[in-house]
């Protein structure tokens, strides 16, 4: 959230530093469950370089001209400016930051934990996702068997058409497995028929909520009633949240491995939300102009507002919590009892480190 609103190198740098610290702290706990496909650092270097060069070459805007490419060359011709180079670099850094934030988040929270954090109202979706993830390795193995079986029959991959013998058995095999799994689930007490849809009250409330939402937004944006619009918006969101809660409460399910929402979790959420709010909400008395850093037309030294810098420190909460904990076994492998995990930091799925 912060990253997408600012291009001020001070703040971008601080956020990147915060992400790096959190990552280091989490790695100390040896929580990394999945090895990264490639290193963040290399990704960052590549993106920053590429973005800087691309921007410098394609944007011929700004006062500090470094050198001039002959205008005869199409697209590239023109002055190459320091401003464009700086802006490209900043954009690259922002992208790296977003990517790094998601990677760190992935490292800290396993897929299964994420699924368990899905609100009760969406439990059918959570189960679908769970099944899909369970069956990906099975399907991969099946795909390998199919490739081998077809190869023995003289099958070669020459063109698009040759995908048919590979994709069809995969699909049909999957459908057959789906039927077997559905049967197994039914035998274990899952209903085999489906009452589609919610009751009228739920739907009407949702519609009302949506109407309030759009009304509030338009009021604010088009007719300029800032406060009234905001109230409508909040009312709409409130209604929809209420409905989610109501639908969730109707789902009768319990959890074998309840994950209690601890004080540590609240601290992390508070830190992240605080940081985001500092940048997004126009607080009275806070000079926000330093957020909107813009190097064009003339590169200037970016302003720094210490209060905003301080707000970013909110992102460091998970790192602080992680440092307090003793080094543990690999997460998700050994879990003696639900009580023993209470101290572990739970990085929340939403409103977190660098969401859009």
């Amino acid at each position: 959230m912060i990253l997408s609103t600012t291009r001020n190198p001070w703040y971008v740098g601080l956020v990147l530093a915060a992400i790096a610290v959190v990552r280091a702290a989490i790695q100390r706990l040896d929580l990394s469950t999945s090895p990264l496909p490639f290193s963040i650092l290399r990704f960052g270097l590549f993106v920053v370089t590429f973005s800087a060069i691309f921007n410098a070459l394609s944007v011929h805007f700004g006062r500090t001209v470094l050198f001039v490419i002959p205008p005869a060359i199409p697209y590239l011709g023109g002055p190459v400016t320091l401003e464009a180079l700086v802006y490209g670099t900043l954009n690259g850094l922002v992208l790296t930051g977003l990517f790094a934030a998601f990677t760190v988040f992935n490292q800290a929270v396993t897929i299964r934990q994420l699924i368990r954090l899905v609100p009760q109202a969406f439990f059918p979706v959570a189960i679908m996702v769970s099944i899909a993830i369970t069956f990906v390795p099975v399907t991969l193995r099946h795909a390998r068997d199919i490739r081998e079986a077809q190869a023995v029959r003289g099958h070669r991959l020459r063109g698009l058409r040759d995908w048919l013998p590979l994709v069809m058995p995969l699909l049909v095999g999957g459908l057959e497995r789906a039927l077997q799994l559905a049967e197994a689930m039914t035998a274990r007490g899952f209903a085999s028929t489906d009452e589609a849809g919610h009751d009228a009250l739920t739907r009407l409330t949702i519609l009302l909520g949506l109407t309030l939402l759009i009304g509030g937004w338009l009021l604010r944006l088009v007719w300029g009633y800032a406060v009234g619009g905001l109230l409508l918006l909040l009312a709409g969101i409130g209604l929809i949240m209420g409905i989610l809660w109501r639908v969730g409460r109707r789902v009768s399910r319990t959890n074998y491995r309840p994950q209690p929402w601890t004080g540590a979790d609240w601290a992390i959420v508070a830190g992240a939300v605080g940081a985001a709010a500092g940048f997004v909400v126009p607080w009275p008395g806070l000079d926000r102009s330093s957020i909107f850093f813009y190097p064009y037309p003339q590169l200037s030294w970016p302003a720094f507002q210490p209060l905003l810098g301080l707000v970013i420190a909110g992102l460091l909460v998970p790192a602080l919590l992680a440092l307090r904990l003793p080094v543990k076994n690999k997460r998700g492998v050994k879990r003696p009892s639900p009580t023993a995990q209470r101290g572990e930091p739970q990085i929340p799925p939403a409103g977190g480190l660098g969401g859009p």
């Binding site: 023995v152 057959e176 050994k334």
Partner: protein, 538 residues
């Protein structure tokens, strides 16, 4: 207690009923075995017990079913899940979660059981099926037998009084199958669980079974009774029972121990010249020759220094434990895996490192799961696809596809959708799709897995016909009886090496692990199969 009264059931769009006027009765705590050829309605019958038929399948049902005083049709599978645990054939298609503990808790979570109660139940079933050491494991790292035990544990989480199992061991190797069946016997004897089991492997469970329910193919009536009553009436029996029937042993032995009591008495006073299995050593050049082949998979050596020769006109059984390197060796012979060292010679040509598609014309390979092969709309089309792959126009096919289908007993199925056929038929379609280029060798990986006695016999006949026609055949198998009946030579592998290579009598007859039932009954005679016994005495 389970009671069926005049139950008939017809699937949607089917022209004849799958169950026709079935009545049966089972008491609490009984262990009942359901047998019958594939397609006789075993699965349908079992699914009536918890209401999956007709709630899941659709269709029309009549008659009355009572299970624990409830009508499963009226009560729906959801309610029945508290009374009846159900375990299915394929271990991999029953799981929703990816870890053992989570999977066991899944059904309980959905039933909104309080967490404290849930923990007790999970611990309970973990102990019942000896799964405690595996509780944190990922399901896809478990063996098939372990996964089936997890499936049984999951089915028992609701503490049902009845456990129904639909061919739970047909996809497992003998060792895993035995583990699963032993677990069932323990559940029945220790807990008094009522068990209804459909199963091909009669020999392991016969001693523990109270009742056998025999469903004949079609037309004739269901037979229910004790083992001794029912076994003489059915034609799908293990070798021990067949021998006992041939020799009129009474009472009918159900275990080898009982059988040996009969056989020792019977052998006493008779002088039997040990049957010699010496066959003339194969002449000419081998069709497939591997020389010092070494294969590594994921950095581990799986096959090391194997020299194997297979001559035209012989059937070689490749045996050994799981992970002994059988499948890897077959895959290497057909070019799916590259040897690190050594070479492979097929039909006097060095094919090491050649493309699979090229080798595939000379060496047919049938993978464990024939379903991986089948994708076309009709059986006939499957054959045409292989020909097209090899760039052969139908008129120049080495063998006429229609003749081949007729030979494999598929003449009437040429226009059917391959994946709707029975397991045995699917396997033969896959074989046809491989054999249509007339390869000189056939390699089959676990060909009898999931087949009933009849389909197995059909496969053996088929292989022997190909053998007489001069094909070199290799079977990688756990199936001792198959090796005893069909093979000319048995090659035993362990840890990637060949440790024995000789006639079935030499290799199997003496082995404590691999000896077929007949060899165990008549030690020292050199007999391996029921036919050997008949030949000697008739």
């Amino acid at each position: 207690m389970i009671r069926f009264e005049y139950v008939s059931f017809t699937y949607p769009n089917a022209d004849r009923p799958a169950l026709d006027n079935i009545s049966l009765h089972l008491l609490d705590g009984e262990f009942a075995l359901v047998v019958g050829p594939s397609g006789s309605g075993k699965s349908t019958l079992l699914r009536c017990v918890n209401g999956l038929t007709p709630h899941f399948s659709g269709g029309v049902i009549s008659g009355g079913v009572t299970v624990n005083g409830l009508d499963p049709i009226e009560a729906s599978p959801k309610v029945m899940s508290r009374h009846v645990g159900f375990v299915f054939q394929t271990p991999e298609a029953q799981f929703v979660m990816d870890r053992v503990e989570d999977e066991l808790a899944f059904a309980l979570e959905n039933a909104a059981m309080p967490p404290q109660e849930m923990r007790i139940r999970v611990e309970e079933v973990l102990d019942l099926l000896d799964l405690a050491p595996l509780r944190h494991r990922q399901l896809d790292t478990l063996s098939g037998g372990e996964r089936q035990r997890v499936a049984i544990a999951a089915a028992l989480a609701f503490r049902p009084q009845i456990l129904v199992l639909d061919e739970p061991t047909s996809q497992l190797d003998p060792k895993s199958a035995e583990d699963v069946l032993q677990a069932l016997v323990r559940l029945n004897t220790d807990l008094g669980l009522t068990i209804l089991l459909a199963e091909h492997r009669l020999e392991r469970v016969l001693p523990f079974v109270d009742q056998i329910i025999y469903l004949p193919a079609t037309g004739s009536d269901l037979v229910q009774g004790s083992s001794a009553q029912v076994l003489p009436q059915i034609d799908l029996t293990p070798p021990l029972v067949q021998v006992a029937q041939k020799l009129d042993w009474s009472p009918l032995p159900l275990t080898l121990k009982e059988g040996r009591r009969h056989s020792l008495r019977w052998l006493d006073g008779r002088t039997i010249a040990p049957k010699s299995h010496s066959e003339s050593p194969p002449a000419g050049r081998p069709y497939i020759r591997s020389e010092g082949v070494q294969v590594a998979f994921k950095g581990q050596t799986v096959v090391q220094g194997v020299d194997l020769q297979v001559w035209p006109g012989e059937i070689v059984a490749l045996m050994g434990r799981n992970g002994a390197g059988k499948t890897t060796l077959l895959k290497t012979l057909v070019g799916l895996m590259r040897p690190k060292q050594g070479q492979i010679v097929v039909d006097d040509q060095n094919v090491t490192g050649r493309d699979v598609a090229d080798i595939g014309r000379k060496v047919g390979y049938l993978p464990q799961n024939p379903g991986a092969l089948l994708f076309a709309d009709t059986v006939r089309e499957e054959l045409a696809v292989t020909l097209r792959n090899h760039g052969l126009p139908p008129q120049h096919a080495p063998v006429d596809p229609e003749t081949l289908l007729a030979e494999l007993g598929l003449a009437g199925k040429a226009d059917d959708y391959p994946r709707d056929l029975s397991v045995g038929e699917q396997q033969r379609v896959a074989l046809a799709a491989i054999m249509v280029t007339c390869p000189g060798a056939l390699l089959l990986d676990e060909p009898t897995r999931g087949l009933d006695y009849r389909a197995k016999q059909q496969l053996i006949d088929l292989l022997q016909r190909r053998q007489r026609a001069g094909a070199a055949i290799v079977l990688a198998t756990h199936d001792v009886e198959l090796a005893a009946i069909a093979a000319n030579r048995v090659v035993l592998m362990s840890q990637g090496e060949v440790i024995a290579n000789g006639s079935p009598a030499e290799v199997l007859g003496a082995s404590p692990l691999f000896a077929p039932q007949v060899a165990r009954l008549f030690p020292g005679t050199g007999w391996l199969t029921v036919d050997d016994v008949c030949e000697s005495i008739c």
